[in-house]
């Protein structure tokens, strides 16, 4: 190397860069392991340093008070606008109605959102005004549920919209009171003392919000300080004793907070994950989670995990983990974050106006708000799909760009026959979320309580034998497929988890039994009372195991009901519900998606596979579907025979009625077809047996025969091509109908081959029709009306009697009159009825993808497919008869030989001997 500093400035730059990198590189390497590049790669942050202001607009450094985000962030952003236009903030507060009037809600739900809609997973109930027995007041709701609420809305405003701080403490007002859990008595709550919970910008917009500290402040009712506590993970504030103290040295000279140190940014997946589910984006540490971890909501309800990590690299005790080289979620793997799909609805980067609002001649409307306007007033309504809990912000349903907004099936799904049809009846997730690899809640049973006052729960996706080992083996689970009302109209099958819940309700109108009453009924001083133990402790060990802790007899039910009644609860009774939770994450790409046709196209396929709901049926109550989900349980909830329940899906029922080839069939069609086929077969066998028998016994003169050139080359080609096509069509049809019987054959290829063969058959038939019309040979197929029945009767008589006695055929077979009357009428029926019907039903089934309306108008696949099947049975039966009857010529094989070589042996009728072919 030559030193070229003066001449080559670029080299000097490089050397300097290297020298700069060297020290950091060395430090990194010396630490002994792969390191992550620092986060400041993206250059200086856009966000300026800013003053932290309190409610009065004074710097917190001066006042020492809690930071007030509306004032702080409101220095530049329109925080009032943001707070007033956000479902995350309001959570249904503005939609509160009297109990029981929530469309599709439970009789005690008072709003469609989390503030007012009861969930058996969280159990606590926000009581409406006027309830004699109050579970949660507004203040308690913030303490109990605030961990998953960003603030604002119910944290600031009463249900009628008045500011909470204007409410006088009043134990008779559930919005200004709190319940003493010991006595159940209301006590006044002073909002001015506690402060209220304003929208917490930091939770989503700083790099490391301290959600635990925030939650703790909320739980303590220290609402005013919740936003401040969120900053606990940064240097600028710390808890000293019981007081939050601002740290002057963490602010710059002007008294402003360092935006870069705080990590002010647009929300990343880890921010969203604080409330929504398990997010794990650091690639170097293995992901771990508790079994059915309640703190990760979406992970708890569905098992979804948002992480780019390969599942095999996670820290989970997961069955067959080594082979799970796919990532948890392909979108996370491809460096997408939540907000790229769930974007702010006026974000000019992602915003797309509904196509209905746009003139047809415009593909793109460039008039949109500019970035400055957006940053001033970023709408905090976020694009969403259509969650199972369809009540949540339904006005925002399907605002996010769906799969098809970024992806096309063209060019990627060419291998998939009937691509469009599949796209129509299946959600993308159905194949692209083949399984969940984390445990999910299966059921929660609040009719009983564990000794720690928690309900009995079941976890899906965990090996049952390992649950009590302390290191449960996660197996993952395959979601159930339910019809989902799609944005575009028709229902499609989509993956869901089903969570079943049982709980006590009381009174009329019904209310869930408050937790404190339930606890009092079950536990006295933290112990099961003797009465309870006597009823439940089957093995007498003084403790109640999972299996013992179930209300499975009327006696147990009455006993607990009695204990609840004793607390003043009227007519306590067990209710049950099933809540579907839609699955849209944990998406995987091509390699891991469902590709095997027989996943669905086989008799016992997963489209109707039973989905376990529980290992118990408390009180014998069959749970009802919560009617808010945009889906339907068209199948049945049935007993698993061991006390538990299964959901048995049905594809041929309900709104999403569909016919899955190879999976569905109509039993009576197959029975009828089989009877026809076997009947013909048996008849031919008996007839042939009798013929052989009589031929052997009877002395019969061999009929005199002669050879006649019966079939032209084209006729033979047409016939044999048809033969091969039909035989292969029947065979491939059988494979499609019962794919599990022919496991080695590729369903996908067989379907395509079936279609090509059908085309060959139809073209062959069309050419033959033309030939027969043009040549006039068509006449041979038309029975002469005059004397037809006599002739047919004659022919039938021959088959029933004459043939056994060695009588000659009643009608001579001649090139210009090849068929007897029975043949004529049979072919007429086959060619004019069966074949067209088969072609039309087949064509419509094929065309279900091209012209779905045409197929749908004629009953859809659910009607066409069984009909097609029935006709194939009849074709198969005809083939048996046809082949058998070819043996009724002068010798058993002479007719077949005639159809091969053209020269047929026919019985010689004296008047024709000279003019026909050569007599033998």
């Amino acid at each position: 190397m030559r030193l070229r500093l003066p001449l080559h400035g670029f080299l000097a730059t490089g050397v300097l860069l290297l020298a700069a990198g060297l020290s950091t590189g060395l430090l990194q390497a010396a630490a002994g392991g792969p390191q992550q590049a620092s986060e400041d790669d993206a250059g200086p942050p856009l966000h300026p340093d800013f003053a932290l202001l309190d409610e009065e607009g004074a710097s917190v450094l001066e006042s020492g008070g809690p930071v007030f985000t509306l004032a702080t962030c409101g220095q530049c952003h329109d925080t009032t606008f943001i707070q007033n236009h956000s479902y995350h903030v309001d959570l249904g507060r503005g939609q509160i109605v009297p109990a029981g009037e929530v469309d599709g809600g439970r009789p005690w739900d008072i709003s469609p959102g989390a503030f007012g809609r009861w969930s058996p997973l969280t159990y606590r109930y926000l009581s409406p005004p006027g309830d004699e027995r109050v579970d949660l007041t507004t203040a308690e709701w913030l303490m109990e549920m605030g961990a998953r609420h960003v603030g604002g809305g119910p944290g600031l405003l009463a249900r009628d919209g008045a500011p909470l701080e204007e409410l006088r403490p009043d134990s008779s007002n559930i919005e200004a009171a709190i319940i003493d859990p010991a006595t159940g008595q209301a006590a006044p709550w002073d909002w001015r003392e506690s402060g209220t919970v304003e929208m917490n910008c930091f939770l989503c917009h700083i790099a490391e919000p301290d959600n635990a500290a925030r939650t703790q402040a909320l739980q303590q009712g220290n609402f005013r300080w919740a936003s401040t506590a969120t900053l606990a993970g940064t240097e600028i504030v710390a808890l000293v004793g019981e007081e939050w103290r601002w740290s002057r040295q963490a602010f710059n000279e002007a008294g402003n907070a360092d935006a870069e140190a705080l990590g002010i940014r647009d929300p990343q997946a880890s921010n969203c994950g604080l409330c929504h589910g398990l997010v794990h984006v650091e690639s170097e540490t293995p992901l771990v989670t508790e079994t059915c971890a309640p703190e990760s909501w979406t992970t708890l309800t569905t098992g979804q995990i948002f992480s780019p990590e390969r599942i095999a690299d996670s820290g989970l005790n997961l069955a067959d983990k080594d082979n799970l080289m796919r990532s948890w979620d392909i979108h996370a793997e491809r460096v997408l974050s939540c907000t790229e799909c769930h974007y702010s609805l006026n974000n000019p980067i992602y915003y797309q106006e509904p196509s209905g609002d746009r003139p047809d001649h415009l593909v793109f409307d460039p008039r949109r708000i500019d970035l400055g306007e957006y940053l001033y007033r970023p709408l905090h309504q976020f694009a969403k799909g259509q969650s199972a809990q369809g009540l949540l912000a339904p006005e925002l349903d399907n605002t996010l760009r769906g799969c098809e907004s970024c992806h096309t099936m063209e060019g990627t799904h060419e291998w998939l026959p009937y691509r469009d049809l599949h796209a129509e009846v299946l959600a993308c997730e159905t194949c692209h979320v083949p399984a969940l690899y984390a445990p999910a809640r299966q059921y929660v049973d609040w009719t009983v309580l564990e000794s720690d006052a928690s309900p009995v729960t079941g976890c899906r996706g965990v090996a049952a034998s390992s649950i009590d080992t302390g290191q449960p083996l996660i197996t993952g689970y395959q979601p159930v497929l339910l019809p989902r009302q799609d944005a575009s109209g028709p229902s499609e099958l989509a993956p869901y988890n089903l969570i079943t819940a049982w709980y006590w309700v009381y009174g009329d109108p019904p209310r869930p039994v408050p937790l404190r009453d339930l606890q009092a009924a079950w536990l006295v001083d933290g112990e099961y009372p003797a009465e309870v133990l006597a009823a439940f402790d089957a093995d007498g060990d003084g403790a109640l195991s999972h299996d013992e802790l179930v209300i499975d007899t009327p006696a147990k039910e009455e006993m607990i009901a009695g204990r609840l009644q004793a607390r003043g609860l009227e007519s306590p009774r067990i209710a049950g519900e099933v809540q579907p939770y839609g699955i849209h994450h944990d998406v995987t790409g091509e390699e891991w998606a469902v590709r095997d046709c027989q996943t669905c196209h086989t008799q016992d396929s997963r489209v109707t596979e039973a989905f376990a709901l529980s290992d118990r049926t408390p009180g014998g109550v069959t749970p009802a579907l919560v009617d808010d989900s945009g889906t339907a349980l068209d199948g049945q909830v049935v007993s698993d025979g061991e006390g538990g329940l299964l959901y048995q899906p049905a594809t041929m029922e309900g709104a999403a009625r569909t016919y899955v080839l190879g999976h569905d069939n109509v039993a009576w069609i197959d029975t009828l077809g089989a009877i026809a086929f076997l009947g013909v077969f048996a008849g031919a066998a008996v007839h042939g047996g009798v013929r052989t028998f009589t031929a052997r016994r009877g002395v019969r003169s061999r009929p005199e025969v002669r050879k006649v050139y019966m079939y032209s080359v084209y006729e033979r080609l047409w016939h044999w091509l048809q033969t091969v096509a039909i035989l292969l069509l029947v065979f491939t049809g059988v494979v499609i109908h019962k794919p599990e019987t022919f496991g080695v054959l590729s369903f996908r290829y067989i379907v395509q081959i079936h279609n090509v063969l059908a085309a060959v058959l139809v073209i062959n038939a069309a050419l033959a029709a033309f030939y027969h019309l043009a040549s006039g040979e068509i006449r041979q197929y038309l029975p002469r009306p005059y004397g037809f029945f006599d002739a047919a009767f004659l022919q039938a008589k021959y088959y029933l009697r004459g043939i056994f006695r060695g009588d000659p055929h009643p009608f001579e077979k001649r090139p210009e009159q090849k068929m007897n009357p029975l043949q004529q009428i049979t072919y007429l029926a086959i060619l004019n009825v069966l074949l067209p019907l088969q072609v039309i039903t087949g064509l419509l089934m094929w065309g279900a993808q091209e012209w779905p309306e045409a197929a749908a108008r004629l009953g859809g696949l659910a009607f066409l497919s069984p009909l097609h099947t029935l006709i194939s049975w009849l074709f198969a039966s005809f083939i048996v008869l046809h082949v058998y009857l070819t043996t009724t010529g002068p010798t058993a094989l002479s007719s077949i030989r005639g159809m091969v070589m053209g020269w047929d042996e026919v019985e010689a009728y004296p008047e024709n001997v000279e003019e026909g072919g050569e007599p033998q």
Binding site: T13, P34, P308, M325, L717, V724, Y749, I753
Partner: protein, 484 residues
């Protein structure tokens, strides 16, 4: 037609064609994979058991070589033409030089043990020959070629100073064990480059004798020997590294066996012009044994507590690291090379073998490197790197006198030593090409892209993460954009 006897055959053929042709034409068949990397592997000829072919006794290495030559007459001559013997490559044009120069271990400096001149007996332990103990070694004497080091079972054979058989070696047993070279034969020297296991390369160490499949997919899962990729003709072994070989003449490419566009995923395929296969498929270096990443000669000679991985009195201070994240630089396969006597700027890091290429060089790709940084001696007056004698009489390792060691080194190299030395920093680049992990352990998008990515995009010459800022087509490189 009426009487054509074989009309049935014609008809049958026609019928079948009318069925089969449309099926073949209209069914959408899966594309057949065209990639067959196995086709590129050399044959493994049947091994001849040599145990009965040697009677011995052998009293010296050359006697064994002579015995070998009785049957393999050309073998020693072939070896003698290679760099394994000469420790010099074919002459190449080095940037800044006017004439092509033959360079190699024999005449270069590095930043490990600095250089072999004056240190022959120690260094030539790994020479494929016998007796190279000073400058006077006779390279024309082909009976000094050491056949055994590559062909004998390593459990029967070892070399000592100047490459002579170690004491106590049973040469007859060693000769009788010969066969095609195994991983352990190559590993005897190459795993121990720099004087110990895993020291030098960062992607070669003793774990490769019997690697697990997730350490090296070729050797661990598929049972490769070194020579399956380092294919050999007439003892000329394919392969090179920019420590001594700065052009691509002998390069082995992944694409010798694999298709360049074998990824089903178009996103990945779009990377192959920019990113070397190694970058994704070798996520980390030194995954099993720690490798040396820093060597400070200036602390040698002190009476400090010794630890072979931290400090030795004879060598100075070290930093070892394992499972290291590679450093990433543009690399077009060629390198600049520091030659004996090249001037340096002692205040800057001297790059011993700077990889060439930059964001604007379409033949350059982003490659993973282990970088070894060192503090070594230079002539404080003449401003060039110096070569001390460390081994042997008067060498630093016995006398602990740098001045004397540098004088002796100067005598061997012929490079003047002013009598005044000082310490300067150097860096040496080791492209990672071994320890290819199975595809399912390769890097994923987020390993490089996004918030937690490992690439320093701006140092590589991009505006920022190319996922967001666009690829190299859009880059207007700052400097040469190579980060160096």
């Amino acid at each position: 037609m009426k009487d054509f006897k074989h009309i049935w055959a014609v008809g049958l053929t026609a019928t079948l064609l009318l069925i089969v042709v449309p099926i073949v034409a209209f069914v959408r068949w899966d594309p057949q994979p065209v990639d067959d990397p196995w086709a590129s592997l050399p044959d493994h000829p049947q091994h001849t058991d040599h145990s009965s072919l040697f009677q011995g006794p052998f009293s010296s290495g050359p006697e064994v070589t002579e015995a070998c030559l009785e049957c393999h007459a050309q073998a020693a001559h072939e070896v003698a033409m290679t760099a394994h013997w000469t420790w010099l490559g074919d002459p190449v044009l080095i940037p800044g030089e006017e004439q092509p120069i033959a360079i190699g271990k024999a005449n270069l400096l590095n930043n490990f043990c600095i250089g072999i001149q004056s240190n022959w007996p120690g260094c030539t332990t790994c020479h494929a020959g016998y007796g190279w103990e000073d400058a006077s070694f006779d390279f024309s004497n082909e009976t000094n070629v050491d056949c055994l080091i590559c062909h004998a079972d390593p459990s029967t054979y070892a070399k000592g100073e100047a490459g002579l058989p170690a004491e106590g070696v049973d040469l007859l047993a060693a000769a009788q064990s010969v066969r095609a070279p195994t991983r352990e034969n190559c590993g005897t020297c190459h795993f121990s480059g720099g004087g110990g296991n895993a020291v030098k390369h960062g992607d070669l160490d003793g774990s490769l004798s019997y690697p697990e499949e997730h350490v090296d997919v070729h050797m661990g899962r598929l049972g490769f020997q070194c020579t399956d990729c380092h294919q050999t003709e007439q003892h000329r072994i394919l392969g090179r590294s920019i420590s001594v070989s700065v052009d691509t003449a002998n390069q082995i490419y992944c694409t010798d066996c694999h298709l360049a566009e074998l990824h089903d995923d178009q996103r990945i395929t779009d990377h192959v012009d920019t990113v070397a296969c190694q970058t994704c498929h070798i996520p980390a270096g030194a995954v099993r044994e720690p490798t040396k990443i820093h060597w400070d000669w200036s602390t040698a000679g002190n009476d400090w507590p010794e630890d072979p991985h931290e400090y030795l009195r004879i060598k100075g201070s070290f930093v070892y690291a394992e499972n290291i994240m590679p450093e990433y630089y543009w690399f077009n396969g060629q390198a600049d090379r520091y030659l004996l006597g090249d001037p340096i700027n002692p205040d800057e890091v001297t790059l011993i073998n700077e990889p060439l290429g930059g964001i604007l060089d379409p033949s350059a790709q982003i490659w993973p490197f282990k970088v070894h940084r060192a503090i070594q001696m230079y002539d404080a007056i003449y401003n060039y790197l110096l070569q001390p004698q460390t081994v042997g009489e008067g060498g630093f390792w016995t006398e602990f006198d740098w001045d004397q060691a540098l004088r002796l080194g100067s005598e061997a190299t012929g490079l003047l030593y002013s009598g005044s030395y000082d310490w300067t920093e150097t860096a040496m680049y080791w492209p990672l090409s071994h320890m290819v992990v199975p595809a399912e352990h390769a890097l994923q998008c987020q390993d490089c892209h996004g918030e937690n990515g490992r690439m320093d995009w701006e140092a590589l010459g991009y505006y920022g993460d190319p996922m967001l800022w666009g690829g190299r087509q859009g880059a207007s490189a700052t400097g040469d954009g190579g980060g160096q």
